[in-house]
Assembly symmetry: C2
Homo-oligomer: 222 residues x 2
């Protein structure tokens, strides 16, 4: 099955940064796949059956067999299709570093971003302060490197790149400028955006902002 | 550096299931290391310097270079010392499955366990119901397999095994029997406990219970 390029399907939702990670990885590997947009308010039988534990997108089906959780999917794509370019480097220490920063994005950035968008008043100010610390930590980890792993676009870049489409939304809610606070991170985001794999799979930042505004309206958060 | 067995040090705390994962992985690989017990109420300069982002144990130092986050450490150990036995299987799909269950333990079991121990009344009853669902899901995933990956003790087993020392504490707080609810999981825990790597690195369940009771007393939770 591994290495068999036929029969790849992605259960996804257009604005999901987690789904976008999988799309970027598939594009980096040059793999054709069937994109199956999911209605998350009325979950399909296929989604429920493919991810019975979490019932969440993204799910990659490969010959009908499901792989769940975005970072696990990206690693699966890298391992099942080992032809260059590799998303994870060969050196075990460099692999651990890439995994550390991808994990940091999952544990810190997404959760903090959600609080920044949902909350008001003092709790929102707390989320704003945390968000700036998280972005500065990522900026520091990148340093003067071209990508998180150095010269090559890789696993940590795939993990973080989709969130660059959310920067505008974070900025408007938090009233800060990512460019002013973290110029190296913004320069990195531009480099990522020059790659076809990223450019073709990220929504315009204004669309993300509109999506969030619509969600807030629906849930009565003004 | 990879494959160099000298200069392995583990910054850890005796009761931590996350630290125990690393100890089990090191023991499975037959790797000697220096164990450095940390005082988490007065964090050492070495811990702060080695894990500046999270400032948490466990940290594995290999020739002075730090690797953080327990599942990343276990994968590092597996990749830097690839001699048999491998903790992750060779097949990409089987690797994804092992990572899925390890990730499930991280995302669900630990957090739910903490709530079960800390809360009272209705919120605790909610945590109790969730815990039973989590344990049943793991019992179902194991099925009639010897280990999570089948015949061989591997990555998902390493991730979950330390929590078996917490089952007694969960049972006493939640007033349920893991054996009654999940007999296959308990049989699996016994099989894990027969391995030297696990037996030598897990604390007696009564010690975990005493530790939790001490923590609750200190934080004024009766």
């Amino acid at each position: 099955m591994a290495g068999e390029k036929k029969g790849l399907q992605l259960l996804d939702f257009w604005v999901s940064p987690f789904g976008q990670r999988c799309r970027i990885a598939l594009a980096e590997k040059g793999l054709p796949y069937e994109y199956l947009e999911q209605d998350l308010r009325n979950k399909s039988e296929l989604l429920r059956r493919s991810n019975p534990v979490h019932k969440k997108i993204p799910v990659l089906l490969h010959g009908g067999r499901p792989v769940c959780e975005s970072l696990i999917i990206v690693q699966y794509i890298d391992e099942a299709f080992p032809a260059e370019p590799g998303l994870l480097p060969a050196d075990p220490y460099a692999r651990a570093q890439a995994r550390f920063w991808a994990d940091y994005v999952d544990k810190k950035l997404y959760d903090c971003g959600t609080r920044l968008l949902k909350l008001k008043g003092e709790p929102q100010q707390q989320a704003r302060a945390e968000m700036l610390e998280i972005l500065r930590t990522l900026d520091g980890a990148l340093g003067d490197g071209k990508f998180f792993g150095g010269e090559a676009f890789g696993f940590a870049d795939v993990a973080l790149a989709p969130f660059t489409a959310w920067f505008l939304t974070y900025e408007r809610h938090g009233e800060f400028s990512v460019e002013k606070e973290c110029p190296r991170l913004v320069a990195w985001a531009k480099r990522c955006g020059e790659r076809e794999s990223v450019a073709k799979n990220l929504p315009p930042p204004e669309k993300v902002y509109e999506f969030v505004a619509g969600m807030k309206k629906r849930f009565g958060i003004e």
